[in-house]
Symmetry: C2
Subunit: 250 residues, 2 copies
DNA sequence: TTCAAACGTTGCGCTGCCGCAAACAACTGA
DNA sequence: TCAGTTGTTTGCGGCAGCGCAACGTTTGAA
């Protein structure tokens, strides 16, 4: 994790992770992020002063499907997965959200309740604001609305792609594609390849690709024997991305 | 089709279906549709005067994936399906759009090109405006933006549901669900049940449910023997919706 | 009336993937 | 250090649904 710009020392967060962090948030946190990049220092200051900062442990939910949408969020650091849970208890991952994006923006799509559950896929640092400020943000801050709708557009596109993949591709190709997308979004270069920068289990990958953890495990084992990937518990490193691309395009 | 309010006689359209229809469009066409319902007569008049009206035959595309998004559309009558085509030529239906909704609204999600192809699933009547007017509509017309984003929110929800269905359900349940959704959106009551109000082939249904036309055909045959549905060429009537609901929830 | 194209049905064999089961490995907390 | 929890691997059997193929039916154009 690299969210150390949040406050001078981490000690506050370590002893009380769920408590708002009080030392004044630094403007540099937001100034380079698209929804805020057109704003001046004074505006960003105002936005930050209204924000609540909070750290989420891996596996903790930021908000739950169906709950009234009381706040909207900006993911500063970490990684969130958006899941839906079926009546029978199965989880399906609809989206992955990398740091730097807004989430829980129900108001932007005319909803009063969150349409899905958001779970921290890694330790995450998040700002949030009461949903009541949404209209104000849209009205007052130049580029905020535009960038928000671009984000929504991208998510629509992502979901679309997943539908097409699930409809036309074999499991092997879907898993390969999922890995490629993950290393693109959150890859960290390591000695022997590119590692996915947050803990991810076979189960997680199976929920992302609509298959079972067993099948994912078998595939990863096979790929490991061929030298395409290396994996430990909750960690996956892709050694030969190109080979995966080939695999994914059969 | 019931789009006869468009002009006094249909003869114009019959001989030149792709030519704009000139007799002044009636205000009642738009005044009850959500994006325009808050507007007064004068505003609707202005909107209509800038619109081009056109009829599309079944199977004709309104716009194509990747093309520059030059116009946005309002489907007045008929039915449109939004498809994506894979590199290997397979079609996957992402969404169905019923009459009364906007489509091709790339600008609303920050895109310069259409993200998918829209094909008339039945004979359809469509208004369209140059995309250049989009920002003006958003700025000038009360409720237009809000309703548009609700539409987008609903489509996100629909796509989400499809992902979950494809990830967790068997083919039989997916097809049952698809039929139920279709009769809900476009069902027309007939003597022996509810008929889907536009021509739909086994192939279409298979593209909607990520399976093959063979499997759909087998399922429909089986259901017909059990008295759940009746079907002719391109026409499907659901006789026992409740039984389908039960089937879809196994 | 004829013919071709589009649409629909059905049988059969095969296989990709799931479901189950069992055992192992790694991490966690006491 | 040990016990419990969580994550991973692997073998085996079964079957849903796909692919292929062949044939029947409807439609519309000539």
């Amino acid at each position: 994790m690299h969210g150390t710009a949040i406050c001078g020392t981490n000690s506050d967060m370590d002893v009380a992770p769920t408590r708002p962090v009080f030392p004044r948030l630094d403007e540099s946190l937001l100034s380079h992020l698209p929804p805020f990049s057109k704003l001046d220092k004074r505006q960003i200051r105002a936005i930050l002063d209204q924000a609540v900062s909070r750290r989420y442990e891996t596996g903790v939910s930021l908000f739950d499907e169906g709950a009234p949408a009381e706040r909207f969020y900006m993911l500063l650091d970490g990684y969130v997965r958006v899941v839906r849970i079926t009546p029978t208890g199965e989880q399906v991952t609809a989206l992955h959200i990398p740091a730097g994006q807004l989430l829980g923006i129900a108001k932007a799509i005319g909803k009063e309740a969150y349409p899905a559950t958001a779970i921290a896929a890694a330790e995450s640092i998040v700002l949030s604001w009461p949903m009541g400020l949404w209209d104000q943000f849209v009205a007052d801050y130049d580029g905020f609305a535009t960038e928000t709708y671009k984000t929504i557009g991208n998510r629509l596109g992502e979901m679309n792609t997943r539908i097409v993949e699930m409809a036309t591709q074999q499991v092997e190709q879907r898993v390969a594609n999922a890995l490629l997308r993950l290393i693109n979004q959150t890859g960290r270069k390591v000695s022997n390849g590119i590692e996915i920068d947050f803990p991810i289990t076979r189960q997680d990958l199976s929920e992302l690709t609509a298959t079972t953890l067993h099948t994912v495990s078998r595939l990863l084992s096979a790929w490991e024997k061929q030298g395409l990937v290396q994996s430990k518990r909750k960690r996956i490193t892709v050694c030969d991305p190109h080979a995966l691309v080939v695999l994914s395009q059969v």
